[in-house]
Symmetry: D2
Subunit: 277 residues, 4 copies
């Protein structure tokens, strides 16, 4: 690890490593790793609810380097997403690995004067998704996330994708429900409301060496880069949202005081880069 360093420690030459792969576990052939080398391709269905928590709660969730957005203090979104992932090898043909469901909160914030979205909490049901998230700075935990689906045939077992169509969504972790939402569609919309701001995360990897617990090996604000984002089928309407307290969780500290739009749509993008702020 003696290569020349950038300000953030980035080396200019590849690490000298016999094992292959991008992430844990590095291995002889390089196919066992949880997150392969990008590009990473994503497509998903989103059910979301706009909400306002108290400005104090929102501010308390921000890392050093981000400030509350004075124009929209306490404003944010709760998103439930059924994702399908693929690396360059058509991972989507192995759905047991490539599909996962995600819940995240995005809160309005400001970074050096620019509006951004901050993700305090995010849950997925898949270890490959958790690994990719950590590398991006998304602080993912494992949870169980479900959203009502719409199907291409009429049925009393599913909602219409149209006026009056209702979609439920839930999050639990460790067998404790953390969030519940319901969205009622009213009209089409050109895009998914929550996507208006760049997402800023706090990439973090601790040190375990005694005396250095408070000096993480990686601790840096990052900005996500979404390549070729596309949305389709977006509907908006009304939404209900509740967060519930549980051991070792702080999501309920961001309890919604009121909700705004509920919405649903489809989304795809690729990831090949990350900006270190």
């Amino acid at each position: 690890m003696s290569t020349p360093a950038f300000a953030d420690g980035a080396t200019t030459t590849p690490v000298n490593e016999r094992l292959k792969g991008y992430s844990y576990p590095l291995s002889a052939r390089g196919v066992a790793n949880l997150a392969p080398t990008p590009p990473w391709h994503y497509v998903g269905d989103v059910v979301g609810v706009e909400f306002w928590t108290t400005p104090a709660a929102a501010a308390a969730s921000l890392p050093t380097g981000l400030d509350p957005d004075p124009a929209s203090s306490g404003h944010g979104y709760a998103l439930f997403i059924d994702w399908q992932f693929s690396a360059s090898d058509n991972t989507y043909l192995d759905p047991v690995r490539s599909q996962y469901s995600e819940f995240l909160v995005l809160l309005d914030a400001v970074h050096k004067g620019s509006p951004v979205a901050w993700c305090p909490f995010i849950y997925v049901d898949n270890d490959e998704a958790l690994a990719r998230g950590w590398i991006q700075g998304f602080p993912k935990k494992i949870g169980a996330v479900h959203q009502t689906r719409a199907f291409g045939v009429p049925s009393q077992a599913g909602p219409v994708v149209g006026p009056g169509g209702r979609f439920g969504a839930t999050l639990s972790s460790n067998g404790r429900q953390l969030a519940q939402a319901q969205v009622t569609l009213e009209k089409t919309a050109p895009t998914i409301p929550a996507l208006g701001r760049p997402i800023v995360n706090l990439r973090h990897f601790p040190r375990l060496t005694k005396g250095q617990y408070e000096n993480p090996a990686v601790h840096e604000l990052t900005q996500s880069v979404l390549d070729t984002p596309q949305v389709a089928g977006t509907w908006t309407g009304t939404g209900e949202l509740s967060f519930f307290p549980a051991q070792a969780e702080e999501l309920a500290d961001l309890a919604p005081q009121r909700t705004g739009a509920g919405f649903r749509g489809s989304l795809s993008y690729s990831v090949t880069d990350l900006i270190i702020l």
Copy 2:
């Protein structure tokens, strides 16, 4: 239990029972039961592969009362279905309970001279679905079932629903993979191939009283009744299918010798009745 009896033991007056509900657990308010009183509404996406196992293997899987179909000996279908269920209370708004995934095999057979489909093995990932299945005669076990999904926005993370679109599917139970399939779409089709025959099951509920293990309390061939079935978005093409052996499983005894059509489509129906044969 002293009410008058039909030939099959059916009583003509309701059972005298203070507890409410249709299935386990009966309870004070009748809302805790796994399967509520019908109607039961279903909507799902199907990925399936037509296959031929050996005539001997197919014949060995048939219960007394069913015979091999001489016109199509060994012919059947493997179906992977992402379901959403709803009783009359819009259960679909609670997706953690109402969604489930299913794998089943249907084999051609004959009942009293009429062509039927026999389901030797079926797996779901949800106890409410297991309970409804047992009541219908579907011999459901718990398994993990996944199929590639298509989304309403272009992406390298998902297949097109069109020529060349590929969909993978897997089944495992107890952490052991039991089946794997891949379908490549070629052209649209008017219906889902596997739905041409009525499904006949063996409804069965054992006795545990010593000396009566071989005298089940319920043991009767049944014919499923699907109300208002609808299909949409069906595509057919080619399919690959493999079954794998595992402890306490016999699915691999029906190993595909060759495959026919692969297909994908959406399906809905309701259930309110069952014919006892």
Copy 3:
């Protein structure tokens, strides 16, 4: 099904069936069924709490044929058990199938003047255990059950099995927490408190034929028979217990008003019989 019948419809000659096995799914070789022919052997660690719910709630949970116990109205036990099961084939060597965790409530009741224990709600995390339970009359649903374990080596990561040792336990289903308990040990005890009464269940299997929803095919009170029960390592002390409400659940209707003993011990028995009351 035209064989001579007992009062309860039991036949005197074995059913004429080509397929083999005891429970779903019957099959060519008879090894795929969820519950094989008894004997069924069980061994487990129990964490339990004695409690009193309101007499009204306890009475409302009783099926026709059982009455409240006037001597102990509202009294019962909540049990969390880490089980290992084996049929006659040493199933315990395949722990992914043979191990499971269980939560159940037992309430004092009276059957024809005799004290019995009634199980209104029970949850397991394994489909083979669910199948065996249904056959016995236990109205099992799938849940996630966990209890603190003790180990044979000192550690700050586990309690002592001795005075002051504390054990936690939780139940959730569909990602919603339904019960939580904590037990603090004080002194050894000769047996596990909850085992003093025979367990009476309501064995039940519905009919789906239209017009017969209220005439279940099987609906009978049963009494469990535990062969060669053995207990060891029992400690008693104090206990805390909470039930939490959730969609499609009624456990919280039996909310503890106060608790009595907390306890922990090991238990084994076999099952080969069931008494139909």
Copy 4:
């Protein structure tokens, strides 16, 4: 991140961060993080099998900086461990979070001339355990791990802890079985065979910034430090072990050529430090 740096980038003053916690997710109150600040206490039951893979396979699994051990080329252990974890807050009272099961392989290797154990693959069923592992350099993936348990009461549902006692164990990930073992006990032993060498890991955290995929932010050999290790109840005997191939896995590349001792015992230790090599 402009604090003075060690050779490896370690800072001498704590990072300036308003959010609290040790690992993802940092938060307002610091209780939501997956891995809290050490100490971390562990206690578990181990079922293990000594084995030899080919020297070539073992050598190919080693990272730069480790070499094959010429004295024991290809030699290693497969361990299945049922763990209970606790931080300083008695986490063991919340068993849904604190209990987990683990599978790992340890292979003999040499670091700068000293014998060490290298862990190429490790699986757990709990995200908190995964997070702690990554911080230590253990390349954990999510898997399902089960081992036969012994209980403190005689039963046909469990093995004796004594001569002839048999214990099975399995690993699967993504519904595919990756490993299976069986151990037969013969005699007591003073310690658990696999613990004779210090464990060396490759701590690794990638970069996602374009152009820097091959320059991980963290990439360093580490040596685990186990505080106050204790073992008890160790028995050794014979063992069987199989690895199975699966998509995106390389465990089967280390297929056992022959096995040595099988063993079982209990183990506890604490973790408060990590040596960077």
